[in-house]
Symmetry: C2
Subunit: 338 residues, 2 copies
Amino acid sequence: MTATRLVLAAGTTRTAAIDGLSAAGADSDLLAHTPAADAEIVEYGSPVRAPAVPQSPTGCLTPAVVTRAVRDRVDLPVTAVDAGLAEPTGAPTVTVGARPGDDIRESDPVPTAPGAMTAARQFGEALPDDEILLAETVPGGTTTALGVLRALGEAGAVSSSLPENPIERKREVVAEGLAASALEPGDAADQPRRAVRRMGDPVLAVATGVALGALRSDTAVTLAGGTQMAAVAALLRHAGVEQRLPLSTTSYVADDESADLAATAERFDLDLTVTDPGFGDADHPAMARYAAGEAKEGVGMGGALALADRAGVPMAEVRERVAALAEELTDDSNEDEL
Amino acid sequence: MTATRLVLAAGTTRTAAIDGLSAAGADSDLLAHTPAADAEIVEYGSPVRAPAVPQSPTGCLTPAVVTRAVRDRVDLPVTAVDAGLAEPTGAPTVTVGARPGDDIRESDPVPTAPGAMTAARQFGEALPDDEILLAETVPGGTTTALGVLRALGEAGAVSSSLPENPIERKREVVAEGLAASALEPGDAADQPRRAVRRMGDPVLAVATGVALGALRSDTAVTLAGGTQMAAVAALLRHAGVEQRLPLSTTSYVADDESADLAATAERFDLDLTVTDPGFGDADHPAMARYAAGEAKEGVGMGGALALADRAGVPMAEVRERVAALAEELTDDSNEDEL
């Protein structure tokens, strides 16, 4: 018997550098460090090699802080997988051959996707755990998730780390990407590797691979995240996985009308668990931004919250720990500011 | 406040392939997998990507099993550092630029040592922990430890994973290595980088670097191991570290007269903690081999035992857990045998 393990696929896509798509980093220089910093915060409680704590332009702290806060209260071993990191990380990572993804408006943005998916599947199959929470950190990842859904011929929408989802901009980028790959929507139906390679990002490839492997060896898999993890569910369906799958997310994603997660869950046979951390009741700037609709999810936040709930940890205690961590982290990042 | 963290430098040296030096793997094909397998066992409780549980030709299980058994009873987060692994591992690892070490009878066996030591120092300095246990896994590592001691001009001896220490063979190999590097004993005094590069292995480089960095940022460092970690202490002294250092090892190393650890501890100002896991009282083959003088130490075993002791976990409970893990692991490895 082993505890539940958080498996975090951390990587990058140059799609994130397109103006107006992502809030996962205060500026584009720091954006490339975001997944490395997230992995470090989940692992150690603070950045180690990364230069700063990821935050949005308005100062909303990365959801890695929430996941770490839960890890400070509940036994949750974490294994990060290098799913195309662009910067070195002080977090230990498993290597599966993924490289940073290119802008999906290129013709072959993720050439490492098929190989990484295979290596990740072997890794997932070998994991001895009874249960994993599968999570992601990849700035720009909702746009690539939308790209993959379209390549597969699926109609679902995606959420956003911004309070106002720039969904029209995402659709334009996806349309340009499909054209660059000479694909019509649905041309990659039942071809998950092709869909990720042409329209996705390396994190989707790795997460899909880990899930395929884990399911094959009877490890229970909970997709811990929002519409990006729903895109992983879509990839799993197009890979032939038929069993119902749990998706564990935050109330912020579930309440995002632009994303329509309920319809996506219905389409892909997902058992939704929605956890509200009650950040609206917290008188703390780190949480107030979430209550205002920023960030919403990522780095396994929704899955971690559900695990805390299952373990009987009151949300008030989680909020208290988030506030304390946020204080520590913003003090540190001020000190270390360049 | 954070818990104590185990930092495990895992790597290889082709010195291990010299006949008769190491017991850390039943045959030389599997020897290259030993550090990867050890890291996986400490992380997950069983091998993941590695093909087998490391064991000596007589069936003595790797000390990774003991360290993992302690982790099943005491909170001990682990971070493995890739200190020159020769095979892919399913354990997450931090990258510091180390590559597998060559046979010390070559002229420049560890060209990555200086760079890896620097990157490891930066990593160690950034670690937010209050305390780390610093440990190693590298087959053939006592021979490279002896090589480094001689290059530094130190007289100390080293222990062995074999019941009969092939110390004369080690001295011959070291003499050949010094000749190949055109070094006399002591020529690398006060030059730890040079000593490791010419006569050591990448694990010594990484462990020394992590310790230097951690000490610089006031993280307490316990050297968790036997004579290899004592060689790290020697490297730290020759790097100018003056504070007393704790070294936490097993009674099997302390009782090894060929190693004379007490003299080494005296020479390098080490506070010795020796823990006896009482394997002689255990009626189990996995532990009986230790009581007969095999393996003795490694993968942080002595430090983990001391931590269990400090946390009030009775050694009988540790032994019980070692026995259970050993059963699981030998069942699995039989199943998966090629």
